[in-house]
Amino acid sequence: MAILTLNNVRKDFGETAIIRGVSLDIEEGEKHAIIGPNGAGKSTLFHLISGLYKVSAGSITFKKSEIQDKAPYEISRLGLARSFQVTNIFQRMNVFENIRCALFWSKGYRYSFWHLLGRQKELNEQAMHVLEQIGLTDKALFPSGELAYAQQRALELGIAIASGAELIMLDEPVAGMSHSEAKAAVRLIRKITEGKTLIMVEHDMNIVFDVADRISVLVYGEVIATDTPEKIRSNSSVQEAYLGEVATSA
């Protein structure tokens, strides 16, 4: 059953149309990758789904409720968490605080100004657990703005997965990581998203084919193909879009 449905979604900035009518169904528990050349509108699509941008037309349904007009915080409360391509963390707060803030809402703290965080044992333990998962335990009290780039990417990932949302959207999670760090991150992603739905934008085809159940190819604001990895690999229009002409068989 589809957890997320895009129905003829369009987005244009002034006259230039960035997303030209995308319709896509994401099944519950599915690992879905979105690939496509630079400027295809992948990040814009992410921004539309997560509420950062308003759609110019069409509708987005998440767990049977329409979210195209909802604010990001309303969408996130429904159980949708995302990470950003450009690191977007709380620079002056330390790493532990970053993760803990991501846990507040899902743990039901809402806007409380009476709960003393020092006493919330269960919350702090959960936060430390997430830190262990992303391998930043020793940097817990380190101001996050001063972390190395790859560590900031790990924190970005941590913030997205901390709230335990049902639908997790990762925008190039391993960009800029070394090969070994990327391998560890992919193992983590697979472990965390067990039983959950994942949408991931990624350029590294090995990772895409390794993780994804289904792949959508986005070119110039249109989805030209959505299929299993094998079919996408052999799909001629995909190769044409990517390589400019039909390649001889791989």
Binding site: F90, M93, C101, F113
Partner: protein
């Protein structure tokens, strides 16, 4: 940091406040301590907005003033016994009305932070200050309104006739307010205020409306500003539109900034320093505002993280125990720097005095005599050279005292 150490800091803070009147019991010192108490609560409440929440407000005196005005009106009501309770709760009344004012204004001003918020707060501040001169019924024009704190029920026999009794009431409220403002930073709302300060966009993606988070901090700051206003009303038994206008908003901004925005105790340090400067410096020279302006500019230029920041920079050295190394270099640079400052002040005062000689630190400096000018000039240049020579030595000492032997090398 261990619980015990944290607790000892709070107890130390309370003890210092309680013990001060024993050392200095003249009416003026008590009045300075009262001013400090009011300034501490007000500056801390301002830092909830700027330091913690990243909201630069030019109209924070509105909530201070509203709290104060309602507090004085309550005093008047107690006097005519339309309502009757101990004046100990007056600061709370101030707090409640500060909160109500913040709820009303916060509802439309916290949509955005940054310049738009600053400008709305400026506009609202000027609007309310100007209208307070028009609605004389409530605000009492520019002579303000006054009440009398001695009509409430006595508290264990204390009639609150003398300022020192009010000082202890102020200490009670300052301690309570400081604790609650500190605890606020340890709550989800407090932490999210920091998050929204650093990155309002990302805060929206972890389930929080940035506007609502700012609104809650804004109301809390209004509450504590109102309490400070209530304390003002209790101490002076009077309030006027001056305590509501842009100048007061500017002063609290100075206190928080000079003290150090990035640290919880910053505003406390700033409040103490500025109150002392305002009350003591003006006794010694009518040019004191010129010196205050210069000192302020130097702080902004050379101590961007405020005095608390300067103190905290010594934290590493303090922990490492190498603070003793710094003592000598500081003296070597400090004394000539102090002399340089004194000679500059002497030159300024000499050129300002209209007739006769200037009594300066025990010397009679006569502007008519070239020799006096020369003498001050020589002292000035001498100390300048001494400062320049000793600076490199201070820098090296500082380096050595503060480098942490790095285990993991980064």
């Amino acid at each position: 940091m261990s619980q015990l150490k944290k607790l000892s800091v709070w107890i130390g803070y309370l003890v210092v406040m309680l013990v001060l009147p024993q050392f200095f019991d003249s009416i003026l010192s008590i009045s300075i301590f009262n001013q400090m108490a009011i300034a501490i609560v007000f500056a801390l409440s301002y830092n909830m907005l700027l330091g913690q929440g990243g909201m630069l407000s030019f109209g924070h005196a509105v909530y201070f003033g509203f709290g104060g005005f309602l507090a004085v009106h309550t005093l008047i009501m107690i006097e005519f016994e339309t309502v009757y309770f101990s004046i100990l709760f007056i600061p709370l009344i101030g707090g409640v009305f500060g909160l109500l004012a913040a709820i009303f204004i916060g509802s439309f001003s916290t949509h955005k932070a940054g310049t738009v918020f600053a400008m709305i707060s400026l506009g609202m501040g000027e609007l309310i200050a100007a209208s307070s001169l028009i609605f004389v019924g409530f605000f009492g024009g520019e002579a303000g309104i006054s009440g009398d704190r001695t009509y409430g029920p006595p508290f264990f026999g204390i009639e609150f006739l003398r300022d020192v009794e009010i000082y202890y009431v102020a200490v009670f409220w300052v301690f309570i307010a400081t604790i609650f403002m500190y605890l606020f930073t340890q709550t989800p709302a407090g932490r999210m205020a920091n998050a929204v300060r650093d990155n309002p966009e990302r805060a929206e993606f972890i389930g929080y409306s940035a506007r609502r988070v700012r609104f809650i901090s804004f109301c809390a700051a209004g509450l504590f500003a109102g309490i400070a206003g209530g304390l003002f009303a209790l101490n002076y038994e009077f309030i006027t539109e001056e305590n509501l206008n842009a100048a007061t908003s500017g002063r609290v901004l100075l206190m928080a900034y000079i003290g150090g925005l990035g640290y919880f105790i910053g505003p406390i340090v700033g409040a103490v320093i500025l109150t002392l400067m305002n009350s003591l410096l003006s006794n010694y020279s009518d040019l004191w505002m010129l010196y205050l302006g210069i000192m302020f500019l130097l702080t902004v230029l050379f101590l961007p993280r405020g005095f608390a920041g300067f103190i905290m920079m010594h934290q590493v050295a303090w922990v490492k125990g190498s603070i003793k190394q710094l003592a000598l270099p500081y003296l070597l640079t400090g004394i000539p720097a102090f002399l340089l400052m004194l000679s500059a002040v002497a030159l300024v005062e000499m050129s300002h005095v209209e007739a006769g000689a200037l009594q300066f630190m025990g010397f009679a400096l006569d502007p008519a005599l070239l020799t006096d000018w020369m003498m001050v000039g020589i002292v000035g240049i001498g100390s300048l050279i001494a400062v320049r020579k000793s600076l490199p030595r201070l820098r090296d000492a500082w380096e050595s005292a503060n480098t942490i032997p790095n285990e993991d090398g980064n």
